[in-house]
Symmetry: C2
Subunit: 456 residues, 2 copies
């Protein structure tokens, strides 16, 4: 452990993080290589559960922004398990903290809601409450994925609504076109990103509202953009007038649906209308939360008037759940009871991760790297067929002319040692970890230009 | 680590397990004690998420069958996080294995479905496939709780049904009265154990079938019992004739609903009717699986004709998911995609647990201890007001005259240092871990008699 910074010794200002990373991708085989192909063949013997697997990792060897695959290729990871990796792979300070922490007891047993460990209340309070969105004052933990966070938030909103409107018929949760909130029955009803998710799964009759189709850069198209935002808000108001809406839910950037984003005014408009008609305003920060946009919560970009009633989280947070205003009460928690109300291991992990994020100013880094990336992507868009560069911090996306071109670009990037992700119909989204720095952005941009050149 | 048996050295036949347990409960304060009360007060500051908490544990000091609470009381645990603790607390062999294993990389990062670790396929195959129910040949992993296992099983069944019946209207999943399959939207529709779970949460219009009201002992009331079983099967057949049933789901012992059980003939009847009308037969083994009934899967008690299409699991398995027949196919896994298709840590843990279960013959132990318990409970029922002793292995329950009496008994047992659990209207259920031996049963029975005496 020699050479590792002590996490709790703030007198050491700089972390020797990422010195073990290569300077650029190292490719030893084509991707997927022979070992990965053998693994894909193996899984087919006993499961259909690996159809979305793209690669197999060597988790032990992966380091920083570089994912190492089963064949020993070092791949620059700009997708990071769909935005789930906060501080890269095997961050040395994290390894150090794990070795000196009391994770063991939590790795061995998994306590349930009815028998929490005595350290859990303090751990939750000290780890989660300092990052609670400022409009909220309580927290509720769920089983480990974003879907469970949103489903339980819906149950809370529906219960709260029933209490205030005992005679309302068929209360609903309104979501937006191209939203993604999960794949179980309640959340799937509100997910509107891809038709195929819903082919055989029954859904409730909850309505979807339109999300404005913004043109980027926003400012250059301001008149048009404000007009479509206004139209969408008017449509939403008509929907809310039915008075049976328990909640509206929105992502600050509609990620799976193609990184759709609007102005703070639009989001604040949704908030205002929700409150006016007695619907709770839920902000789904499962993908946007924990720093990648340059603020801890993406909805902080809406300014001081941002006032969500419930904010859901998962992914980079390691644990899942939601923050909420304390006046939204659970009278009989039997109805809410979530079998595993905290994954103690991952809560301890997040405690360390948050410490590293603060010491290394990783949210500021996301903001800085993001500005650099956005500027350079804009330059590239003048030479090659990418457009609509949008987003906040490193949480960025751009469009290709069509779906086929976007698919080809992702493949080309992988062959150059870069893991990238698609979203929407024809967009590439960037979801690097928070330790993605300018030097990594430079490698990315270099490979991107190379890939676009090959494809043009 | 000296003195611990090496798990992989089979030449050492006996494990020095449980020698660190006390001989009986040790009470230092009343329960909850002052430290627990302070913790309850603390949680109220920032969360309503602890309403079902009964105690706070000292997870580090808990050992074997003895849960140690925040105040240092040693409590004999016969409820075990609602049947979730397979080999007791801090089993020495488990601690040893953890220390010598490569858990670290999995504790640090949590890989998602689209980027599994290269060791995952082998780990899944070698750990889970040997225990697959014999009618199944594939496995699908979900996010960590029984609810996710059942919800994804429903999605699979509905997709399969849609493929074979493209024009069927509103396909449904039929469950049984008093069933419990989870608390999210799809599973809540099929959960019929308590009305309060559904007060404000919308549900699909799926029907519930009757479960026979058996009188115990079964054999002494055989004519009556067979009659009610037959009536229930006839009613189920009428329901299945609508031809829009994608699946039936049943627990081998309806646990939350009051440990309701019927004869193997009844369950085989449900299976036969389901197959006759083209519905998949799902067995929910979330609570009954992994040995407590005296067989690895409780449905093995139905004999060689047992042939479920899908078997769901969680709790003692550490990971959640389902086994299924391979002809039930997932054509587009985007629709099924489960963000975290395996909790690598818990899969490694289950590998060790299963090894310990085999070496120490813990399933045989459950069978032996269960027989002893059942006989002695029957003796006690002649002296005190407990009745309807039922169940398999140590997965046992008995009734009190009414709900109030059952609630009082649980409290009285806790004051005597025994953690017990309620189910249904007026039943006490036993859910000890698999290391619950005759000597622990004797302590339990002694305290139970004492509590019943005080209450009579």
């Amino acid at each position: 452990m020699k050479g590792f910074r002590r996490l709790y010794n703030l007198t050491i200002p700089y972390s020797p993080v990422l010195t073990q990373e290569p300077l650029e991708p190292i490719l030893r085989t084509s991707i997927p290589g022979p070992k990965a192909q053998a693994l894909f063949a193996l899984t087919k013997e006993f499961s259909q559960d690996y159809q979305t697997a793209k690669l197999f990792m060597n988790l032990e060897k992966s380091i920083g922004n570089y994912l190492v695959d089963a064949d020993g290729n070092y791949i620059l990871d700009t997708y990071c398990h769909i935005a789930s990796l906060p501080i890269g792979y095997n961050h040395p300070d994290f390894v150090y903290a794990l070795n000196s922490n009391d994770h063991y007891k939590y790795v061995l047993q998994r306590p349930t809601s009815n028998l929490p460990d005595k350290n859990l209340p303090t751990l939750v309070r000290e780890t989660l409450m300092p990052i609670a969105p400022k409009s909220t004052d309580e927290v509720f933990l769920t089983c480990g994925c974003g879907t469970s966070a949103n489903e339980l938030a819906y149950k809370l909103a529906l219960t709260h609504f029933k209490k205030n409107n005992p005679n309302a018929v068929d209360p609903e949760i309104i979501s937006f076109d191209k939203a993604f909130h999960g794949r179980l029955f309640g959340t799937l009803t509100t997910t509107r990103s891809k038709g195929l998710h819903k082919v055989a799964t029954p859904a409730f009759k909850w309505r979807g509202a339109s999300f404005p189709e913004i043109k980027f850069p926003y400012v250059e198209n301001e008149t048009y953009n404000q007009k479509v935002e206004k139209e969408c808000l008017e449509q939403l108001e008509e929907m809310l007038k039915t008075k049976n809406v328990a909640a509206t839910i929105i992502e600050p950037i509609l990620s799976e649906g193609g990184d759709k984003i609007a102005s703070p005014n639009f989001f604040l408009g949704v908030q205002e209308l929700s409150k006016k008609y007695g619907a709770l305003f839920i902000v789904d920060e499962v993908q946007t939360g924990v720093g990648p946009t340059g603020k801890f919560w993406a909805h902080e970009h809406w300014g001081p008037r941002a006032d969500p009633d419930i904010v859901t989280f998962a992914k980079k947070m390691q644990v899942s759940g939601f923050f909420h205003k304390s006046h939204i009460t659970i009278e009989d928690s039997e109805d809410f009871y979530s079998k595993y109300n905290a994954d103690h291991i991952r809560l301890l992990n997040f405690k360390t991760i948050w410490r590293i994020m603060q010491i290394d100013r990783l949210i500021r880094n996301a903001s800085h790297t993001g500005s650099f990336l956005k500027g350079r992507l804009s330059d590239i868009s003048k030479k090659y067929c990418i457009s609509n560069i949008r987003g906040l911090g490193t949480f960025l996306a751009y469009d290709l002319p069509n779906e086929a071109a976007a698919g080809k670009l992702v493949k080309e990037l992988l062959s150059l040692g870069v893991n990238a992700g698609l979203c929407g119909d024809k967009s590439i989204r960037m979801r690097p970890s928070l330790v993605f720095k300018q030097k990594h952005a430079e490698v990315y941009l270099d490979r991107l230009e190379c890939a676009l050149k090959r494809l043009s």
